[in-house]
């Protein structure tokens, strides 16, 4: 906005041409600009109803007072209903359904209380407060040469008083302390870039080494009871955890970390439908076990569609086909679900003699090594 312009309230306003009053303060490069463009000035000031008509102003005042008054009422409603409305009360909210009375009343009353203060204030400003256009002049941004010289002198004096120039030991030790201090700040970032122990990423509690080398029984989740082979009928889905989870549950420590990669889904389908021989061999007469952790980002792939033999992950809709050894037939996953080899032990329970043959879950850099 050009600094030369103001409009006079009350007089008829038209475009006010630029005056020469401030040209000596303008840099030379801009003087030409002043001549090139005519200052269009401000648009004509529009009067409001409240400026001209005292009745309209009174009406506006009453409107603002009403808003503040309603706000007070809403606050009182909040204060009373906080204690008066019982916890279990519900009512029918038209258009939405059954709602809890306490939630709705407290929310709406507090909301209106604060909202009405706000709109009351805005309405007051809009209708009654002064709305004259003001032009604030912009002063030179650069300081005067004397001020500049003074500032430089102060800085130099300050530097001289630190003795940094004459005492290099101070300078170097300060540099060393500050420089070294950057390391702890960066260490947190650098140190959490990845695990130091890659083997832990590949390990699940299905590893027989966690069970003293013995095959691990498949247990129902959450009951933690073992599963017999003849209990798995055609079309059944069991959600499985290994028996090695029990000791984590008993100790109450690291249960979720142990469970996180151990989730397995056990399904029985007609073995003639399975097209991949390895998938048939690693199962028992059509009973197959696959890791439930999606190879995309790690959600539990529990949605089994019995008739199409597809396993769907609900997060990004990766679909795995059980008849093709859980190959990915749709969605962003790039690797099939790892299969868990299962057999039947002497007592008739399903067991996993070895753990997973590959790391479960989403990819990580060191997965192939």
């Amino acid at each position: 906005m050009n600094e030369n312009d103001t409009t006079d309230h009350g007089t008829s306003t038209s475009l006010v041409p630029a005056s020469d009053a401030g040209t000596e303060r303008l840099p030379a490069s801009l003087i030409r600009g002043v001549d090139q463009f005519e200052n269009p000035g401000l648009p004509p000031h529009v009067h409001r109803a409240a400026d001209d008509d005292p009745a309209a102003a009174k009406r506006a005042e009453r409107q603002v007072a009403t808003m503040f008054g309603l706000s007070m009422l809403a606050t009182l409603v909040f204060l009373v209903s906080y204690f008066a409305i019982p916890d279990e009360a519900t009512f029918f909210f038209p258009g939405i359904g059954i709602a809890k009375t306490q939630n709705v009343v407290l929310g709406l009353s507090l909301g209106f209380a604060i909202f009405l203060i706000g709109i009351g204030a805005v309405h007051w400003a809009k209708t009654l407060m002064s709305d004259e256009e003001i032009v604030e002049e912009r002063h030179e941004q650069a300081s005067t040469p004397e001020q500049r010289a003074k500032s430089v002198a102060v800085v130099n004096e300050g530097v001289a008083s630190t003795h940094l120039n004459r005492r290099p030991l101070l300078k170097y030790s300060l540099g060393g302390a500050l420089g070294l201090f950057a390391l702890p700040l960066g260490l947190q970032v650098a140190g959490s870039l990845g695990p130091t122990n890659i083997e832990e990423l590949k390990h699940t509690i299905w590893d027989p080494k966690d069970n003293g080398g013995k095959p691990i029984r498949l247990m129902r989740d959450p009951e933690m009871t073992p599963i017999r082979f003849d209990e798995v009928t055609s079309g059944s889905v069991f959600h499985v955890m290994p028996e090695t989870l029990q000791k984590y549950i008993d100790e109450g420590k690291h249960v979720l970390e142990a469970k996180a990669k151990a989730a397995v889904i056990l399904i029985r389908l007609d073995p003639d439908l399975i097209k991949v021989q390895k998938a048939k061999d690693w199962g028992v007469d059509g009973v197959v076990a696959y890791s439930k952790i999606c190879t995309h980002v790690g959600c539990a792939v529990g949605l089994y569609e019995q008739q199409t033999h597809h396993l769907l992950c609900p997060c990004h809709q990766s679909t795995f086909d059980l008849t093709e050894d859980c190959a990915v037939i749709f969605g962003p996953a790039k690797r099939p679900l790892p299969q868990l080899k299962i057999t039947v032990d002497d007592a008739g329970y399903l067991v996993a003699p070895a753990g997973f043959a590959e790391p479960v879950g989403p990819s990580f850099w060191e997965r192939a090594r």
């Binding site: 109803a49 709109i119 017999r228 529990g302 609900p314």
Partner: protein, 269 residues
């Protein structure tokens, strides 16, 4: 030429002839046509299984085969048990109203006696899951600590086995290619039990050895307790989680905010 011969060439003659032809054909059909495949049972059949067989042949055999052995249009029902029939026919899914990706819940087309007759007939074909006993489909009401514990256990079992398809509150969820897991609100405890034990359509089978009858009862009680309790959040918005809540915020909250912003910028009158 007599009067009839003269009128033979009248323009209206062809219309009269057509009308006569229609009357004759229609009349002959209604006299000679076989009786309609009547859904109501003939009063002569005394045996439940026999009555069921008649109902089956009249209403189900077109798709499921005369001996329930299955055809291109419908699977074999040998071995599905009385529970399947009670569930599918009792929720109106069968007889299938029209071809679709999945049979939706529909108006029930038979009364209870007919449904039990059909169930008895299908059960007689081969052993299969039976209609559950009353004691396992009685809902455990919350209130006492031991009931509350049972309901909480039901919730735990539900979350592990069922929530991935049916949603954490049983509000239903999507599967692939237009299939879906329906919302469970309003389904009777008996039908919930039967659906678990028979695994209808895309749903897998949760037989009584996987989830014991007591476990199934706990799951059912959890669902009913969930239906009846007051939602502590205020409005459930269909129990669909962030999706419906986000829509609510985008439409109403943002709408109001935009309205306020527009009003703030306008000059007063």
């Amino acid at each position: 030429m007599n009067a009839l011969a003269a009128r033979r060439r009248h323009p209206a003659a062809i219309a009269v002839l057509l009308l006569l032809g229609l009357l004759v054909t229609g009349g002959a059909y209604s006299f000679l046509a076989p009786k309609d495949a009547n859904a109501s049972a003939p009063t002569a059949a005394a045996d439940d299984v026999a009555q069921g067989k008649d109902l089956f042949i009249a209403n189900c055999a077109t798709c499921h085969g005369v001996g329930a052995q299955g055809t291109k249009s419908g699977p074999s029902l040998v071995g599905v048990g009385a529970a399947s029939v009670d569930f599918q026919v009792g929720t109106g899914r069968m007889p299938l109203a029209g071809p679709n990706v999945q049979a939706p819940q529909n108006k029930v087309k038979f009364d209870d006696a007919q449904i039990s007759a059909l169930a008895a007939y299908v059960a007689s074909l081969a052993p299969g899951p039976a209609i559950p006993e009353e004691k396992y489909t009685t809902v455990i009401e919350p209130g006492t600590p031991e009931n509350n514990k049972a309901i909480a256990e039901g919730g735990q079992i539900f979350r592990v086995n069922c929530a991935m398809c049916h949603n954490f509150a049983g509000a239903g969820g999507a599967l692939t290619r237009g299939k879906y897991a329906p919302a469970l609100e309003g389904t009777t405890p008996k039908h919930i039990y039967e659906a678990m034990v028979t695994g209808p359509q895309s749903m897998p089978v949760f037989n009584d050895m996987n989830l014991t009858p007591e476990a199934k009862q706990k799951v059912i009680s959890y669902l009913k307790a969930q239906e009846n309790e007051t939602n502590v959040g205020g409005l459930t918005l269909g129990n669909l989680g962030p999706v419906s809540e986000g829509l609510f915020a985008w439409v109403f909250a943002l709408g109001i905010l935009i309205g306020c912003a527009v009003w703030l910028g306008k000059k007063a009158a």
